[in-house]
């Protein structure tokens, strides 16, 4: 079954993805037919439908595409507010979501701001301005 092949035979379970992030590496999926990349589990490409999907290492640097400042957060991030939740376009793709600590005003994080993925003991994918 394709899903099992993609997720386990290539070694990329969600746990493996998370473990790699702890070591500063962003792993995800890439369609070899149309080169569409995704950070979310992919058995068939969400863009072209091809099942020729492989795993790939993505760049740690990118730029902010959009963001919000979270002043009310869920349990896991209660002690982090205020912070910015960001959508980052990694260099070479794909777009991923993450967060930037200590941002309290929209002016502190203009769209287009360069950021870098920074492994941390905190939850989720943390980015810092570069």
């Amino acid at each position: 079954m394709r899903l099992a092949e993609t997720l386990t035979e290539h070694g990329l379970t969600l746990k493996a993805q998370r473990d790699a992030m702890r070591e500063g590496k962003i792993l995800g999926w890439e369609c070899t037919a149309c080169r569409h990349r995704a950070i979310t589990p992919t058995a068939r490409c969400a863009k072209c439908g091809s099942d020729k999907v492989t795993t790939a290492t993505f760049a740690n640097d990118g730029k902010v595409v959009t963001f919000t400042i979270q002043t009310v957060a869920s349990e896991q991030f209660l002690n982090e507010v205020p912070f910015a939740w960001v959508v980052v376009e990694l260099d070479g793709g794909p777009r991923v979501s993450g967060w930037v600590p200590f941002v309290s005003r929209p002016g502190d994080l203009p769209v287009g701001q360069r950021v870098r993925f920074t492994p941390s003991y905190k939850p989720g994918m943390m980015f810092e301005k570069t």
């Binding site: 979310t40 959009t66 919000t68 009310v72 957060a73 869920s74 349990e75 991923v96 939850p123 989720g124």
Partner: protein, 383 residues
């Protein structure tokens, strides 16, 4: 396919109640059955929209409600597509009758969340996103729509004041709706001064967490005739999906599933936007109403945000939108919301909407979104 109509409808008031989901849902279903005049023994089943019943330590709501209604033998199903659960439940009931597998169905929805504190409720709503990649990175549910709003602002130059006018318009309508959670008029200034929840969205850009239930009875045209009730026809019904995670979509200022479901439902109904006299759209946040009107093809890209300020979407405007008050003021009892839209549109189409009646209501459209559009249901109703 057989013609299907709505022959009965009812809703509880939306708000905060010391009642369980079981009680709220039973009330709504019981009242809808009475309204339809159908013998409850003829009910072939009940599709129930619900997302968070487990928060009350109760799963498997169906049999509880059917037992309360005195028809424990009738099958019931919980349908969960986040905030689109109600619209999806309606669709499944419709499909069963249109396809000839049932003659009379209940479609209903319920939510009870007011017992949860704000942090817990915020977490529950975030579970409707792609939690691993969105909520797990700190995004709250308002945060996702805030990201859409910022993208929209950048693309089209719209402002926070434009969105505030949408809230003002929907509160004006909600003030005329005795079932609405918030029956209070507000001003643009009130919205602008309200607490920032997830910039650029403020508290008054957001719908409230509501408790409530709604139910409708669907049946074949033949049953409607037998009972002598005035039918409201389901002219079009469609569901669609989008990539769950917002950041993976090519455009974050629109919801693809809305466009797909809207086109399908209107095609089946043989109508175009200019034939539709009024809409209930999924305005969980003000920005969502702006995007919905564009995604459904009622307005050009970039025009949605300014439509309320320009009077286009008022009850007496060219495209009356959310005459009920919408999710924004009427309230958002998640699983009930999509069914509540049908209840409202039926009243409007039968000319029974009182002070908020839209003139010449013959064809109406209901648009119900799950999370940021991972799920969408669109229905076209007519008399």
């Amino acid at each position: 396919m057989r013609k299907v109509c709505v022959i009965g409808a009812a809703s509880t008031k939306y708000g905060r109640f010391d009642l369980t989901a079981r009680e709220l849902l039973s009330d709504a279903c019981s009242a809808a059955l009475k309204d339809s005049r159908v013998d409850p023994k003829r009910i072939d089943g009940n599709f129930i929209g619900n997302a968070f019943s487990i928060a009350e330590k109760q799963g498997h709501l169906g049999p509880l409600v059917m037992t309360t209604l005195g028809i424990p033998e009738a099958p019931a199903y919980t349908i969960e597509t986040a905030c689109a659960s109600g619209g999806s439940a309606f669709r499944e009931a419709y499909v069963n009758i249109a396809g000839g597998f049932a003659d009379v169905m209940l479609a209903s929805g319920v939510e009870r969340v007011s017992q949860l504190d704000t942090i817990t409720a915020t977490s529950y709503f975030a579970y409707g996103s792609d939690y691993t990649y969105e909520g797990g990175n700190g995004c709250s549910f308002p945060g996702l729509y805030a990201a859409m709003a910022r993208t929209y602002f950048q693309k089209f130059g719209a402002t926070e004041e434009d969105l505030a006018a949408i809230a003002v318009k929907n509160h004006e309508n909600g003030a005329l709706n005795p079932k609405a959670h918030i029956q209070k008029r507000i001003t643009v200034e009130d919205v602008m001064k309200s607490m920032m929840v997830a910039s650029p969205l403020k508290l008054y850009d957001a719908c409230p967490f509501s408790d409530g239930a709604a139910a409708v009875v669907l049946a074949t045209e033949e049953v409607a005739k037998q009972l002598g009730v005035e039918p409201v026809y389901v002219m079009g019904s469609a569901r669609a999906g989008s990539i769950a995670a917002l950041h993976e979509r090519a455009d974050m200022a629109s919801i693809p599933s809305t466009t797909i479901a809207g086109e399908k439902a209107m095609k089946q109904a043989k109508v175009t936007p200019k034939d539709v006299n009024l809409l209930e759209v999924h305005d969980c946040f003000t920005i969502a109403e702006a995007m919905a009107l564009e995604d459904l093809g009622f307005l050009k890209r970039g025009e949605g945000a300014k439509a309320a300020a320009q009077g286009i979407t008022r009850r007496d405007g060219r495209i009356p939108t959310n005459a009920s008050g919408g999710l924004k003021a009427k309230g958002h009892p998640v699983g009930a919301t999509g069914i509540g839209q049908i209840v409202e549109l039926r009243e409007q189409l039968l000319g029974k909407a009182g002070a908020r009646q839209v003139k010449n209501a013959r064809v109406a459209l209901a648009h119900n979104v799950g999370a940021t559009g991972g799920s969408c249901a669109v229905h076209v109703l007519g008399v």
